[in-house]
């Protein structure tokens, strides 16, 4: 077992290949109906957004409340490219990632001068502006939304049902997580954290604060763009500005906070749990928002580092005890 762990640690890529095959097998073993595939796709999309948000919010410490706007940019880039050019996901996905990355630059600029709540307000304005721009733009289908966006095709298979689309959203999610892990575990991730903890001190260590803030915003925007494009093509392929409001933003934030801000697994754990809990509480629609508000408040009060911090502490404690046991002997 130890040996296996070592191998994974050395070749993180292997871990993802194993995860890929496990996730490939899950639908045929466990899933009993199409809805579970649909929900899984939604979970994967949320994971991509939350993992990206964790980079900029959790790691780099930049309070952005406009991320849902970037998610909308990703969706509408894909949607418009389909509507006007008939492009499929294979083209819209990379383009959406690039375009959203460019929007990330715009979101990063206020972060050079603003901090904390002021930055939150500026990005909130940015995110809402994007949504209102879409809503009032005939070009974007305004409140009609963009409908019947096509599903991708590969090797003669059209991924037009939830169970098939699972095999699109899942690999995209894995690749996104892989990138986020690689970046965050490298010196860049450390630099992000240093910028979050103390920009002046980070600069004294030779870390270019502006560059890293910019990088964090662009990277996380790209994640949001990818998620947006995958969502746009999710059957039945319909996007509407109503799905990109502040409420969605709060949900994404809740995922990251609940999962653990600045924890490498933070956004992922949060996205999985919150999406599933949301689904299980669907029949309790009267209390749903109450339950959510309560979860966030309780998390911040009693688990400020979220589930990720909890797990971390468990492992560190265990390691410490092990060490102590060895020392005692």
């Amino acid at each position: 077992m130890e040996k296996f762990k070592d191998i994974i640690r050395q070749y993180p890529f292997l871990g993802f290949i194993i995860a890929f095959f496990i996730l490939m097998a899950i639908p045929s073993i466990f899933f009993t109906d199409l809805y579970q595939s649909h929900l899984s796709s939604l979970i994967f999309i949320n994971i991509i957004v939350a993992a990206g948000l964790n980079i900029v919010k959790g790691y780099c410490g930049q309070v952005t409340v406009g991320h849902v706007g970037l998610y909308a940019v990703g969706s509408y880039t894909a949607g418009c490219m389909f509507m006007y050019l008939g492009a499929s996901l294979w083209i819209t996905l990379p383009v959406a990632i690039l375009v959203t990355g460019l929007f990330g630059v715009a979101f990063a600029i206020p972060s050079f001068r603003l901090e904390g709540p002021y930055l939150a307000l500026a990005t909130l304005g940015g995110g809402e502006a994007i949504r209102l721009f879409i809503e009032n733009g005939e070009f974007f289908g305004s409140t009609y939304g963009i409908s019947s966006i096509s599903q991708p095709e590969l090797f003669g298979i059209t991924f037009d049902t939830p169970d098939k689309y699972y095999y699109i959203s899942m690999p995209v999610m894995l690749i996104a997580i892989y990138f986020s892990f690689s970046v965050l575990r490298s010196s860049i991730g450390r630099a992000f954290m240093a910028v979050r903890e103390d920009p002046i001190s980070a600069a004294a260590s030779g870390i270019n604060v502006k560059k890293h803030k910019m990088l964090a915003f662009i990277l996380s925007a790209m994640f949001a763009g990818a998620a947006g494009a995958v969502y746009a093509h999710l059957p039945p392929g319909y996007i509407h500005p109503n799905n990109y409001t502040v409420i969605e933003m709060v949900t994404f934030l809740a995922m990251v906070v609940f999962g653990g801000l600045g924890h490498i697994w933070g956004g992922i754990i949060g996205a999985v749990i919150i999406t599933i809990v949301y689904d299980l509480t669907r029949p309790l629609y009267e209390y749903q928002l109450f339950i959510f508000g309560l979860t966030i408040v309780l998390t911040i009060l009693f688990m400020p580092k979220g589930i990720g911090g909890f797990i971390d502490k468990y492992f560190i404690d265990r390691r410490f005890k092990k060490k102590q046991a060895v020392a005692d002997k």
């Binding site: 809503e135 009609y144 409908s147 509407h240 749990i273 299980l280």
Partner: protein, 396 residues
Amino acid sequence: MKKIKIIFSSLVFTASLLMSTIAQAENIKIGVSFRMLSDVGYKHGMLIEDTVKMWNSQGGINGKKIDLTLYNDECKSEKGVANATKLAYQDKVHVIIGSSCSSVTLPMVPVITKAGVPQIIPHSTSSKITMTGSEYIFRVPVSSRFYKIVQGKFTAEQQGKKIAYIYVPDQASMVFAKEMMKYMKDEYGVDPVYQVQAGEKETDFRSFLMKAKAANPDVIVLSGLVDETVRMLVQSYEVGIPKSVHRVANSVASKVEVPTNAGKAAVGVVYSAAFAASDTRPIAKKFVKMVKSKYGVTPGHDFSQMQDLLDMLKPALEQVNFTGNLAADRNAVRDSIANIKNFTGLASGPISFCAAGSPECRDGNKTPVMIKYTRGGKNWKTAVAGTVTFKPSDGL
């Protein structure tokens, strides 16, 4: 140990996702996806729940009990699509009722069509929905394609052709204004004297109203959701648009909040709807009384359409011979609903469906009614200004 428990319980959550619901083959299942956010939204949900409870206590349908699954979609397409998928594949319902917002119903159509579940729409009016050509979709309310004609004709012939439009970006509001503009252009060759799209959740429309006033119109069309409609009406008097200018609102004006909150400003507003609370038929009087005593509001056409839908659905379900084969049963339910001819309930006109999946067949109510507020405030009153019954293909 405690920590392990917590980690473990989160795993159980995950596992419960994977568990399938235990199928109860004997019962008839109805799924609802609905905007249950506002006060009135909840009351629509309660109306369904109470009605189904009543059916069950009266012995169900042909001895079968009815399971009702109610989900909220918050007027968001993402939630609506998830609800439809869940109802169709996980809850395995026989028929879906929903939704309120056109932008949610529209993407639900391909989902339920693929799954083969019949869906009846209680509220959405956007003409695009039935134009998708799905065989599984049925609409109880009046389609926006009829509203535009009746409103256009009434306005052009009785009120005037110099029209200013102010509308908000909500889909139904926008469709109403745009389709009316197009109708006026096509039929009478007149362009709007002024038109503007206000911002979402706008609260101050006075600058738009001033400009509209400057254009000196005969008629001013104020198309918005409930709150916006109320504000626009009140503010139109504030900026001094005279009473002689006719004010026209979309079918949202049938909601109780409009006359209650707009007060005097609601007087004279003309709108088209599918039901008038001032309807003098005994069945309508009884219904208004029932809703008033049970839910504490005077029903607009949202309530009546929901009631009509349920009243139509029950006999249709009684016609179906449930075999236990889900796909066959769903198709049987669809065919049974498609067989409904000339249902006369609370609605302004008879509701008929037919077999083909076309707008001609599936836009059930073809008789919008023109209603005028004669008194505003809490004890508001309406009068019927006229009704028109359209041919199924009109307005396409």
